[in-house]
Symmetry: C2
């Protein structure tokens, strides 16, 4: 990534807000795109043709490891994931299988090789995997949740089974990320999107040890790791402790306050509210000014949204935002 | 409320986790219960017969003002609210009507009179209303949301119309709360349940002025006001500034850190994770010990959950928790 300006990329920078993505999705399901290296490559590259982003992120889905784990899922009504038989008991958790990502998810690794070839070194490619708490919550709730009631009931009620399950998920994420690094990704992001539902005490007991294992496995391979979650303002110190060279922060916490919690020896990624992009451009720029002012021109700030780009976002706003961040931060 | 122990009550202490509530709901819809003073009274009193709570909260629903505002809604599939024609444009927002709560919501005020008679001074009765941001989000999204995409798009894109709409919602909430106070409630809670989706900057611009107006209207009537939201750990100072004698905090922030942000001159309500009640009792007690230790025995702590009791909660756990808080805090 460049160091003469603040680097910028966007979570879900390839997605439904782009007409070329929607056109491709009229012919192919989300899972078809993920499982077909040519299509995943094409979609990964789409935003790079239109938006001044400083990194590509592999187009894929957090849930892909569920299938080879023995937890089949699908995307119904277009986008929301549904797991037909959610894991609800200790026995369900024990049934989950480990697998070799180089076999079961070979299509992801092929897509990485193709994307890297197409990029020809222009920008780095980010790979990713879902974190244990977040992946567990999908498998246990059967989809998205706002209360995580089944997940937490199992966590509190069957802590030993929870930890065995998360050890397996941490092993799967580690193997998967190492395979992605070997296939060529230049950085990885661990998505613990929903871990903000835990307080510091519970994070430390139920999530931290498993996250640490993933970051240790990745660190041995010499690429930077980004640690991402939503609504984690009050547990950023614990996320730091778990690991990651870069810690993500969402819009609910001012970037400088977040960086204080993360520590000056780590980089920070964030933290514009993605819904701001639905409003007029002067508001987008004003909110961006505040993020950049709080970053104070310090090296180690990667500009991003606090969560993924929303489907209703005008593509022109995303274009203008990336350009604006570069203009305002040129050193 | 008592001062010789830490007072305790629970959001949604009347609800589906109780068999007597489920039995009554087999015969009556949620809206029937809300609109029939005898039924609302019965349900309000149910938890008092079984659980050592130090306050009753009127059984009602946040959305009741929507109907006389001209925004009809219903609860489909049992519990989730659905607004058939959500407000999506500036013109939609302008159409919303003010109303006289003593006429349109007379059944709520009658229920308050009945509950007060039945309570005969044993414990105080808490009334409540929905805050502008939270009520607006239901009316605009058409139900519950995780991104608040339509709400924020209108807020950012049409700020003048947003403010006119929220002024009207603040007026409605103020009138409704004053009518409840005149009918006999001893305290009021303003539910800004979803305002944690805003950062401090947006809270200050889009929510704070309207919240301040409500708390000023209530303050003139001499009953304590509780200011509640979920996921507000990073904007508690702004909630304090908006008003309320008691500020709620959810489980994502340690209670002592929350109290520092709220200020020692205000009381605090919280902050056990409601999902903890789904786990074993020793874990409930350990998590409660931590909340009480962080409260440090200071006056001005009202024990509550960070959000409402979940339907799957064993009633015995709620009983044991209330008893435990009293035992551990007896002065």
């Amino acid at each position: 990534m460049p160091v003469d300006v603040t680097p910028v990329w966007f979570m879900r920078q390839a997605g439904r807000y782009m007409s070329e993505y929607r056109a491709l999705r009229e012919r192919h399901s989300l899972l078809e795109v993920c499982r077909t290296p040519d299509l995943a490559t094409e979609v990964t590259l789409q935003p790079l043709r239109r938006i001044e982003v400083d990194a590509a992120i592999l187009f894929s889905d957090l849930l892909l490891p569920l299938e080879p784990m023995g937890v089949p899922f699908d995307f119904l009504h277009g986008e929301g994931p549904t797991i037909a038989t959610p894991l609800r008991t200790e026995a369900d958790l024990e049934r989950v299988r480990c697998f070799e990502p180089r076999e079961a998810l070979a299509f992801v690794l092929e897509a990485i090789v193709q994307v890297k070839r197409e990029l020809a070194g222009r920008v780095p490619l980010i790979g990713f995997a879902g974190a244990p708490f977040t992946l567990a919550s999908y498998a246990i709730e059967g989809g998205h949740s706002s209360t995580f009631v089944h997940t937490k009931a199992l966590m509190y009620g069957s802590p030993a089974a929870w930890h065995r399950f998360c050890e397996r998920l941490a092993g799967i994420a580690s193997d998967y990320l190492v395979a992605q690094i070997e296939a060529g990704v230049d950085a990885v992001q661990v998505f613990d999107s929903w871990v903000g539902a835990l307080n510091a005490r519970d994070y430390r007991e139920f999530a931290l040890p498993h996250m640490r294992r993933i970051f240790q496995a990745v660190a041995a391979h010499g690429v930077p790791a980004i640690h991402f979650g939503v609504g984690t303002g009050t547990i950023l110190a614990e996320l730091r402790e778990a690991g990651g060279d870069v810690i993500g922060a969402d819009w609910r916490i001012p970037l400088d306050e977040a960086w204080d919690r993360i520590g000056a020896d780590r980089a920070i990624q964030g933290n514009l509210d993605p819904t701001v992009l639905l409003g007029p451009l002067d508001r987008v720029f004003a909110a961006t000014d505040e993020v950049l002012a709080r970053a104070g021109g310090r090296l180690g700030h990667i500009f991003n949204l606090g969560h993924g780009i929303l489907p209703a976002t005008p593509v022109e706003h995303v274009q203008a935002l990336a350009r604006y961040v570069h203009q305002q931060t040129r050193r």
